[in-house]
Amino acid sequence: MRTIIFLIKKEFLQIFRDKFIGKAIFGIPIVQMLILVPAITFEIKSARLCIIDNDMTAESRGLISKLEGSPFFSIVQATSSGKEANDLLYGNKTDLVLHIPQEFGRDLGLGKSAKVMASVNAINAMTAQLSWAYLSGVIRDYNIDIIVSANPAAAAMMASPSITYRYWYNEMLNYKHYMLPGILVILVMAIGFILAGLNMVREKEIGTIEQINVTPVKKYQFVTAKMVPFLVIGLIDLAIGLGIGKLLFDIPFEGSLFLLFLCSAFFLVAALGMALFLSTMSGTQQQFMFMAFFFMIIFILMSGIFTPLESMPVWAQKIDLLNPVAYLMRIYRMIMLKGSAYADIERDIFALVAIAVVFTALAINRYRKTA
């Protein structure tokens, strides 16, 4: 224990002796939060819409004015030429084209079902889906308006299975509230993961590890001493991030702060165990960075920060069983937005502890004092 304290002190001294790193480990998370939280949003404020109106009737104009009234769309062009509309789509001047055919007004008047066609620029599948969803919502509204105005009696029939939405845990569907916990997770991980791993490989590169290896230091002591400073720094970064979230973005915090920090500590041990394990397999800092980059991208993109885990193929969900970021992502959102207690996230916590134990053991085992 005494030896570990001497070693930990040495690590802290070295980390903060590097003036740049000493500041960056607290500065970077702040910058990250300030930029990423407001920047990453799925909300679409004004999708560009082009309308081809071949109908030119009161009915078609009714639909158009409904769309004009929607905050989600800005109408860039109303035309009667299909070619012109397609050119706009090709030239990336519009995101959607809505084609109202000639029979639209007539069919509606006859009580037949009228057809419209929407073409969506799906280069970005996410925005395409969302703008399509908004568009069909507006059309549905318009549809109901027509039915009600044509036959008020039908309104009563129509209204019977009316659906009222209520979004639990994030009533306003505020993307900041959804993204902030995710960004916090990345911030807590990235710094420790990279710095701890590099730190270990650097000792190999410059040869100082040789002097350590010839002492009676125990392997677990050395590995623990490499972990502890970055565990502490990670938790401080988390506190900073939460502070910014509360003060600037008014993030809800429903659950237990203690539970959040406890889970984060388990997570950090898991992530640092992985980083140190990777570093025992790397001979140079480049090798480590290459591997760290590769794994971090997989961990982050498969963590559920952007896409729901449930929509991933089953094999990918299996891989995610080993992804500590996925567990913490879920835990953060559950604790912060839903106020989940220990019992609700027990399984995730166990998984994190298991990953932490396994990879720390691997790192200790792979670190060789005698070649």
Binding site: L13, E210, A371
Partner: protein, 257 residues
């Protein structure tokens, strides 16, 4: 000689793939002596020293250091030795005091003892004004003296020095050897590799390695007599030409063949 053996090596072999770095080395080192380990570049000195210090596992053979088996008890050996590697490997981004505190702590000395010894050491080396300076700012000679001082700070039974005076000016080299003598007279066995043949003359006994084998082992005066040479350097040039297998003749002279 009835002296106590602190290092006992028999038929030590170390292979890297098909390359034989150490070929059946056998020798003893006695307590309190200064044992010089000579050889051309690539002769296998560093490999041998790394095996003796528990940093490298031997392929075969028997290696006992301070009473412990290098294959099975390398960590026990590490408790009883000090080591100064060829490449300077204290922490350059820490100060002298911080480095000493770290290594003193690792070897289990208490803070009070570390502090006292540190002050004594700084005075002895006339390092006082450098105590709180980063190692990276020190000149090479001071660095080497410091590395040696750290290697013996915990008063080990044996200290291994791998080319401790490489690239150091003559004055510092002399001071360095004074430190080595002082250490040996305090009862610490010194195992030192070097390129400098004048330094070999200061050793109690020397061994000369060539192509992975020990081709000569005796006191400097005895070796000079055997080879009819004026200096250890002449002995060395006669028997340790790099890249050339030693002849059966030299092996016979030494009774090692």
């Amino acid at each position: 000689m009835n002296r106590k053996t602190v290092i006992r090596v028999r038929d030590l072999v170390k292979k890297f793939g098909s390359f034989v770095a150490n070929d059946r080395l056998s020798f003893d080192v006695y307590e309190g002596e200064i044992f010089g380990f000579l050889g051309a570049n690539g002769a296998g000195k560093t490999t041998a020293i790394r095996i003796l210090t528990g940093l490298l596992e031997p392929t075969s053979g028997e290696v006992m250091v301070a009473g412990f088996d290098a294959c099975r008890q390398p960590e026990e050996i590490k408790r009883n030795i000090g080591y100064m590697c060829q490449k300077f490997s204290l922490y350059e981004d820490l100060t002298i005091r911080e480095n000493i505190m770290l290594y003193g702590g690792i070897y289990g000395l208490d803070r009070k003892t570390i502090k006292e010894r540190t002050e004594r050491l700084l005075d002895k080396l006339r390092f006082r004004e450098y105590g709180d300076r980063l190692i990276s700012a020190l000149p090479l000679g001071l660095k080497q003296k410091l590395a040696f001082s750290v290697a013996v700070f915990h008063e080990p039974r044996i200290v291994f020095l791998d080319e401790p005076t490489g690239g150091v000016d003559p004055l510092t080299r002399r001071q360095f050897w004074e430190m080595i003598y002082e250490t040996a007279s305090a009862g610490i066995t010194v195992f030192v590799t070097t390129h400098y043949m004048d330094e070999a003359e200061y050793c109690d006994r020397i061994s000369i390695m060539s192509d992975g084998r020990i081709v000569a082992l005796d006191t400097p005066s005895e070796l000079k007599r055997k080879y009819d040479a004026g200096s250890v350097e002449d002995v060395f040039v006669k028997i340790a030409r790099p890249g050339m297998k030693y002849s059966q003749e030299t092996a016979d002279i030494n009774g090692l063949g």
